[in-house]
């Protein structure tokens, strides 16, 4: 599969949020305002790329070699959590501007299942190192795209007359469902 197909596949056809339904909590939680949505998207892209490649290395060179594949989930969780902590410290010291920009979203990603999902998908699809690097980036961009689109919609929804029982998260879930349906139209492209 070429990178272009991978790009289309990860962003549109198999969008991590709208087709695979991973990472729904930050999707609903940080999409109320465009500003926070953009911050979250950037943080996810950054961490997913890091996590995707490192977990691939650990899986391929340690778990497979020592026949410990069944420890994949726990190993990935520990690695991702440590990685986020490490990155946070690194950024705080080295790139304070980026650290300030990502703000509180960085630690929140520790509990983002989209990151974990991308790492697992990379292994399941038996990607090469470069493939998984690219796939991690594209999945994360797909996440960011969906989040930012959704934030734009929610800002518009605020201006509309929404019946009381459906306000806020309820209408957001309905909207998310409809966007998801729209993304299903991409099925079969790749």
């Amino acid at each position: 599969m070429g990178y272009f197909e991978l790009f289309i596949s990860c962003i549109f056809v198999n969008n991590i949020l709208l087709a695979q339904f991973l990472g729904n909590c930050p999707f609903l939680g940080t999409s109320k305002k465009m500003e926070t949505a953009v911050g979250m998207a950037m943080a996810v892209i950054f961490v997913t790329v890091m996590a995707g490649t490192i977990t691939w290395i650990i899986y391929t060179f340690i778990l497979v070699n020592y026949d410990l594949v069944y420890l994949r989930t726990i190993a990935f969780i520990v690695v991702i959590a440590s990685l986020v902590q490490f990155v946070e410290m690194f950024l705080k010291k080295s790139i304070p501007a980026l650290y300030a920009g990502l703000g509180i979203f960085l630690p929140l990603i520790t509990t983002n299942c989209a990151v974990m999902g991308v790492c697992v998908l990379n292994i399941d699809k038996e990607f090469t190192f470069l493939d998984s690097l690219a796939a991690s980036l594209f999945y994360a961009i797909g996440f960011g795209l969906a989040l930012i689109l959704f934030a734009g919609l929610r800002e518009r929804i605020l201006l509309a007359r929404v019946p009381k029982p459906l306000q806020d998260t309820s209408i957001a879930l309905i909207t998310a469902g409809m966007i998801s349906l729209a993304f299903f139209a991409f099925q079969g492209m790749v």
Binding site: I62, L71, V79, S82, Q85, M89, K93, G103, R161
Partner: protein, 686 residues
């Protein structure tokens, strides 16, 4: 099995070791107080404080960018603990409260109907929020919905009303309001805010030199809320009893009703509520910010000094007033005669200001009884000069030093101080300003047979207030217009025996737009008088300079006033500020009060260690373009409440107050004449 255990432990160990090294290598010094403060915050990351999460809020608190009570969720115990960590008193946190700056909700609704929309932000997004007034309240209640504390409700008039007891100052309403109508401010922020071009200001409030929110206090009077009316005035003017009597009310010239009808009698309404407080002897409580421990020396206890001291005290500082005369009040006491502003009234008002916790030292003159160095040695953090303009100009004509010649302020001050003055039988007062009129009317009450007012131009050019001129005409003062004093005629005993003047005629207009008087050759005339008072203007008396201290560095203008930055009242010595007549030259009482507040704002900035900067877009008594109308629709003619006065026969032989207060019924009627204007909108009479 063994491998899996080894691997799990190994992974944990490797991650742990890497992280612990990383925390050493990438260690960034962080104030340890931040972590302590963060532990005391709610930890909900709710954003109610306006910062991105609790750690950001903790950092802001430690960096003193936010007060210890920034977190809206924690209780007073945590706030005091945080304040303890910060080494400040818990009290330094002044509560934030929400205020509604526009009450035009209902009249706006009548003008524009938005089909189907039910939120202010939707209306703003789709139509730019345009109603008759582009800045006004839309009245759909986004703020009501935004408030998590049930503190805002839609009032009966269609605009939101804030319940101050429930408001926690979280700022949600300010964010929610697309028209910036709701402002979340501390009391001192509100007190020290200067009128700005984006504020919701009626033409009268733009004009008032003290920047009083006139339509708001008139609205309170209309509803019978006299305490709120007094408090609204006190936000900008601590001398409401004095101003209610002596202010020439420049605001009334810009009253929108005045374009089609007679203007609202704004000053009488101010006087009514001010007198209401005094006659009931209630002393409505005045809110002050928590103490800051900073001390300010206020040199001169006139209107500017009292105003600055009052606002500094309310902002939490400790001003001390140094006054050269035996009592506080400055020109209010020594320049304005008893019949216009009774000393009893002034005493009551000054007592109320001093009761806030302001120390005063009277009978001490800077440069004589104490010097500037001793002030600095006494630990004052800033010095404010409001020494007034007490130096009368001289005519520069022969015979001016004869027995029986006085100068205006000197004469009034002697009378005000109950000093004996030898008063003649026939007196000439030279000058056309308020001081000259005050001298004339005072002399009349002292039993003088004949008072002449000698002025070199005509009645139209007289700078005195119109009401004062009319009152003195009623009282029988003879005006000698177009007369330039030439010399004072003396008798053998070196006493005044007459005033020789040249008749004048009006020529071309001069720089001030007034026609310049030109003397008529050979028209010398002698006025038979035995006393002459010269009241042709004053300048500040800055004799305390020249003693070899920092005061000598102060820049002085060619009118002998302090050279100050007009928007901040700061002089070229950073900790010295000046306002009032000593910075502007002789002006109105209300100008001095406004100047004192402007200076208090800058002094507050200075004392808090901030740069002293002018407020952005401050109006400084200029008008907002487009808010002064040529005509006003929907105004029915209604009679303006006349000023009640003592009859002439009852007043000219004593110093009883001439102008009387209007009745409560008249006050309610007069307040009903107010159109309740904002920048562009107004209520019509219907």
């Amino acid at each position: 099995m063994v491998e899996s255990i080894l691997f799990t432990f190994g992974l944990g160990a490797v991650c742990g070791i890497i992280l612990s090294f990383a925390s050493k290598i990438f260690y960034v010094y962080e104030d340890p107080r931040i972590a302590k403060v963060e532990n005391l915050l709610a930890g909900a990351n709710c954003g109610g404080c306006g910062f991105a999460g609790c750690s950001a809020a903790a950092e802001a608190i430690v960096n003193e960018e936010a007060p210890p009570n920034a977190c809206i969720l924690v209780g007073p115990e945590n706030v005091s603990e945080i304040a303890g960590i910060m080494g400040s008193e818990a009290g330094t946190a002044e509560p934030l409260k929400s205020y509604n700056t526009c009450d035009g909700g209902n009249r706006a609704t009548d003008r524009f109907i938005y089909n189907g929309l039910n939120s202010c932000s939707a209306v703003t997004s789709l139509y730019g929020g345009k109603r008759d007034c582009t800045i006004g309240c839309l009245g759909y209640g986004d703020c009501v919905r935004s408030c998590d504390f049930d503190a805002i409700h839609m009032g009966p008039d269609g605009y939101p009303v804030v319940d101050k007891n429930k408001c926690v100052g979280c700022g949600a309403c300010e964010t929610a309001c697309p028209k910036s109508i709701l402002e979340v401010r501390t009391v001192s922020q509100r007190l020290l805010h200067l009128n700005a071009a984006e504020d919701a200001l009626a033409p009268c409030a733009q004009t008032c030199p003290a920047e009083i929110d006139i339509p708001r206090y008139i609205g309170h009077i209309r509803k019978g809320e006299y305490e709120e009316a007094v408090n609204t005035i006190r936000e900008r003017n601590p001398l409401l009893l004095a101003c209610g009597r002596v202010c020439p009310h420049p605001c009334e010239s810009y009253c929108r009703r005045g374009i089609e009808d007679e203007p609202v009698s704004i000053n009488q309404l101010k006087r009514f509520v001010a007198d209401y407080e005094m006659t009931n002897n209630q002393r409505f409580p005045i809110e002050c910010a928590p103490d800051t421990g900073k001390r300010v020396a206020v040199i001169g206890g006139g209107p500017a000094g009292l105003s600055a001291a009052y606002f500094l005290r309310r902002a939490g500082h400790h001003p001390e007033i140094f006054e050269a005369m035996p009592k506080l009040g400055g020109m209010l006491r020594y320049g304005i005669p008893e019949y216009r502003l009774p000393k009893k009234v002034l005493d009551w008002e000054i007592e109320g200001i001093l009761n806030l916790g302001i120390d005063d030292h009277t009978n001490v003159r800077l440069g004589v009884d104490f010097d500037f160095g001793s002030l600095i040695a006494a630990g004052f953090d800033a010095v404010f000069f409001s020494v007034g303009a007490w130096n009368d100009y001289n005519l520069g004509i022969p015979g001016e030093d004869l027995d029986g010649c006085f100068t205006g302020i000197d004469f009034l001050a002697k009378i005000g101080n109950n000093e004996p003055v030898r008063i003649g039988k026939r007196v000439a007062v030279i000058g056309g300003g308020n001081t000259a009129i005050d001298c004339c009317r005072t002399l009349l009450r002292k039993g003088v047979d004949k008072v002449y007012l000698v002025y070199r131009r005509t009645r139209n050019e007289m700078p005195a207030n119109e009401v004062e001129i009319v009152a003195s005409e009623h009282e029988g003062i003879e005006f000698v217009f177009l007369a330039a004093p030439n010399k004072v005629v003396g008798n053998e005993e070196n006493q005044v025996a007459g005033l020789e003047y040249l008749k004048m005629e009006l020529g071309e207009p001069d720089a001030s737009g007034r026609r310049r008087p030109v003397p008529v050759e050979g028209s010398e005339t002698v006025l038979d008088v035995d006393m002459i008072i010269t009241a042709i203007g004053q300048s500040p008396l800055l004799s305390f300079r020249g003693k070899g201290d920092r005061l000598d560095e102060l820049q002085i203008t060619r009118w002998n006033t302090f050279e100050v930055e007009p928007a901040t009242c700061q002089t070229n010595v950073p900790y010295i500020f000046a306002a009032g007549d000593s910075a502007t030259g002789p002006a109105l009482v209300v100008d001095a009060i406004g100047g004192g507040r402007k200076a208090a704002r800058s002094i507050d900035q200075f004392l808090r260690g901030k740069p002293v900067v002018p407020q952005p877009r401050a109006l400084l008594n200029k008008h907002i373009p487009g808010t002064i109308f040529e005509s006003v629709d929907g105004v029915r003619h209604t009679k303006r409440t006349p000023m009640p006065e003592l009859p002439v026969a009852q007043r000219i032989h004593n110093l009883k107050e001439v102008d009387l207060v209007i009745s409560e019924a008249d006050a309610v009627y007069e307040s009903g004449r107010c159109l309740g204007c904002c920048r562009l909108c107004y209520n019509t009479d219907s």
